[in-house]
Symmetry: C2
Subunit: 456 residues, 2 copies
């Protein structure tokens, strides 16, 4: 929803952050207050507000109580408020209400019901799910004066008037012009001339919200038209909806990278069982995969019994592999998301990660060797008569594992993208698990090569 | 920079994503093309463009070549282009040019030099660094008609005209009104009446970009005024700059969570040595901390020698602790960033993570016990005569470590916030390292308690 520029803004004295309230509350603060109080109380408080304010509160996507609160209100009041809400938000809220929303939908005017039903058909993270149908469209033949007169007549019912569509006789979008250009132009000139003969950037309703956000950002748009296959405007996605979508996407990516299924609600409002479900799934999958480490260890049981000293460094070596992998993965996920890398760049990345891994592994290996030498030299610990070989094993193991970690961690997002998954599904725990099993095998193989005939 | 609504948009036929070019290129596409070609060639191509187009390209923050390209151009041309750029972007580019920018700054008009120098004084991630001084301000006594006339007269030189400041006789900001309200109002009425007697949301120039983004998002603003301590407007941050800031913040957070210092440039454009530096620092710190695991293992050396079977499960148990910790950390970082949690909520989180950790640890522990029983029962592996006790140790160890991981992982972001660090600095590798050392101690302590008198 793109509200009026400073709608809901009330007052304040200047501080480092936002201004504080003097003679009232910001809508955003009312939203926060209502989110925090019990739903019955929130419903009563909202019911007591004048319509304009109640609608402004309901229109905010941050007002998570909206579906609950509308369900608790007298149906007549709920209908009146929903009718005044911006359509994209009303559709989201009604979708969240499920069955409780049906009496409200049934009582809306046929026109509104039709456009809300159309909006409800699209997934919430698509252009169709984000758009509102409250846009301004005028015939391409209109003059600037006629266009401005039309805008003035419909302003109250439109979410944004800063972007105006020009349509041809068949209703197809031919241009989008800004209010800015319109008010600067000669009243008698043709509106279409302001479009500079160019077609607008636009998307189909099925377009993913990440693509929508990227287009709005790349082209510095205030609003992006959504059009049907035959080019007729269906709605408009405004920049404020994109801000919300970017933040939601950020949260989802961060949770995925941490190895959690994205939560649908804020942390403290997510039920205990839902929280367990969102975490137990991945945790169990990782646990089952990590069991391979036990199998790998069992495989090297003889070596472990002969040289217990080798086990001392297992956690150190494994975690270094996981850490370097997690670094590489986070770098590549973002580079892919920002379009700085494409699928076909995988080999360029591999050619960078290979030497990077060798250098990073070399640094850690050197530190590891020094650590063993110092402990041995000062008598903190006795690594046995073959301590030099043990140190060499640890050093070489680190080079091998960090290199493998960097390579595997950087290739994983490419692999996921190739398999049509979201590259951001590659989580730090997933990379660590992947590297752990292989890391153990690398370590013991190097140990066998170096220590064979002495310790092993 | 908030350009004209569809500035730089050219043409296309409808596809699932953006439209493709028919009779020209989008500015965003030119930017991409110039970013990809050698800097000398980019400079030549840009020099051949008409001013309007060259400035539109330079104005895009995505045009990373801007500082290089301006430095390679004849100074006179560079001066002409910089003078036409939007001020916030010009300041950023000149800052990036360093010494090479000095002849350009010296040749600008005194007014422009003054306002660019003022912008350069603020960090790039503060409101002062993001703002432009090209805003529209009119006296509070103006009528709607006078306001619109003023807007029309200055439109060409202003970044946005959708938000208009009203100032008092002392030049202090008293209100901000939208162009939307202005064009809907009676020409003869007072502009100040449109402000509904409310003060605008505004910030000081030192405000962090995250706070700026949050205010613009929460209040659905198109632009946020930046004011001095005494309340005089200094500039304006537009919503498109906030979109860019959000994406930059997202990248920084993702890289930090992966355990990398934030890269300043795209992956493939970051020099090899810079890349090593950004990664080696954290990797070495983690490595040095992780060395405590070797010390912990050395401490339990006698136990390790007596019961090699215990070592088999070390990687499994340690990684489970790290994974549960990484999950909890990613959840809490985002909840803090979104304001869903405050510092004072730490105990509510702890009271949730404790039972969550116990349940998750219980699930993994059960799976672990079943694994050992099955391998023993089917004769895949012999865990010795005390295999039941070994299984109990592994199960109990998992409960203890996953609980500790969830608690430590969830408390770490709170601790960082308390210490005035960015909670998003808590990386998955950092949490894993924290949990690894303690996890080993928990595991061996439980082993001593259960296996004392039998294996140990």
């Amino acid at each position: 929803m793109m509200n009026d520029l400073f709608a809901g803004v009330v007052t304040g004295s200047h501080a480092n952050g936002a201004r504080k309230s003097r003679n009232g509350l910001y809508i955003a603060d009312i939203v926060e207050m209502l989110n925090a109080c019990p739903r019955q109380e929130a419903a009563e408080k909202l019911a007591r507000m004048p319509d304009v304010r109640a609608v402004a509160v309901l229109d905010r996507p941050e007002f998570r109580r909206a579906p609950d609160v509308l369900a608790l209100m007298p149906v007549a009041r709920a209908i009146a408020l929903v009718s005044q809400m911006s359509e994209d938000r009303a559709a989201d809220v009604l979708a969240a209400m499920g069955e409780a929303g049906e009496p409200i939908i049934a009582a809306l005017t046929p026109d509104l019901r039709k456009s809300l039903t159309a909006l409800l058909a699209w997934p919430h993270d698509s252009a169709g799910g984000m758009m509102t149908t409250e846009y301004v469209a005028i015939p391409e033949s209109a003059t600037v004066e006629q266009a401005l007169a039309h805008i003035r007549s419909v302003e109250r019912t439109r979410e944004t008037i800063y972007s105006i569509f020009l349509t041809d006789a068949a209703g197809r979008l031919v241009a989008a012009i800004s209010l800015r250009r319109l008010i600067m132009a000669e009243p008698g000139s043709a509106a279409i001339d302001l479009a500079r003969g160019r077609d607008p950037v636009c998307v189909g309703p099925g377009t993913d919200r990440e693509v929508v956000a990227d287009l709005i950002r790349r082209h510095d748009l205030l609003a992006l038209p959504v059009v049907s296959e035959d080019g007729r405007p269906l709605g408009i996605v405004t920049v404020d909806d994109v801000l919300d979508a970017l933040v939601a996407e950020h949260t989802e990516d961060a949770q995925k990278f941490g190895g959690v299924e994205a939560l649908d609600r804020p942390y403290l409002e997510t039920g205990f069982l839902a929280m367990i479900r969102k975490r137990a799934g991945w945790l169990s999958v990782l646990f089952l995969s990590e069991m391979l480490t036990a199998s790998a260890m069992q495989h090297f049981e003889t070596e472990l019994e002969k040289a217990v000293v080798l086990t001392l460094f297992i956690p150190l070596i494994m975690s270094s592999g996981g850490n370097s992998g997690s670094q590489a993965t986070s770098l590549i996920i973002r580079a892919l998301a920002l379009g700085q890398l494409r699928l076909r760049d995988w080999w360029r990345v591999a050619l960078r990660e290979l030497p990077a891994g060798l250098v990073l592994g070399g640094i850690l290996g050197l530190v590891g060797i020094i650590r063993i030498a110092v402990w041995q030299g000062f008598g903190f610990y006795d690594y046995g008569p073959h301590w030099v070989l043990v140190a060499a094993t640890v050093g070489a193991g680190l080079v091998g594992i960090v290199t493998f970690g960097s390579l595997a961690g950087s290739m994983l997002p490419f692999l996921l993208q190739r398999l049509k998954f979201d590259p951001a599904s590659a989580s730090a725990p997933f990379v660590a698990t992947l590297v752990d099993v292989t890391g153990l095998v690398i370590y013991f193989t190097i140990a066998l090569a170096i220590l064979s005939g002495t310790l092993l």
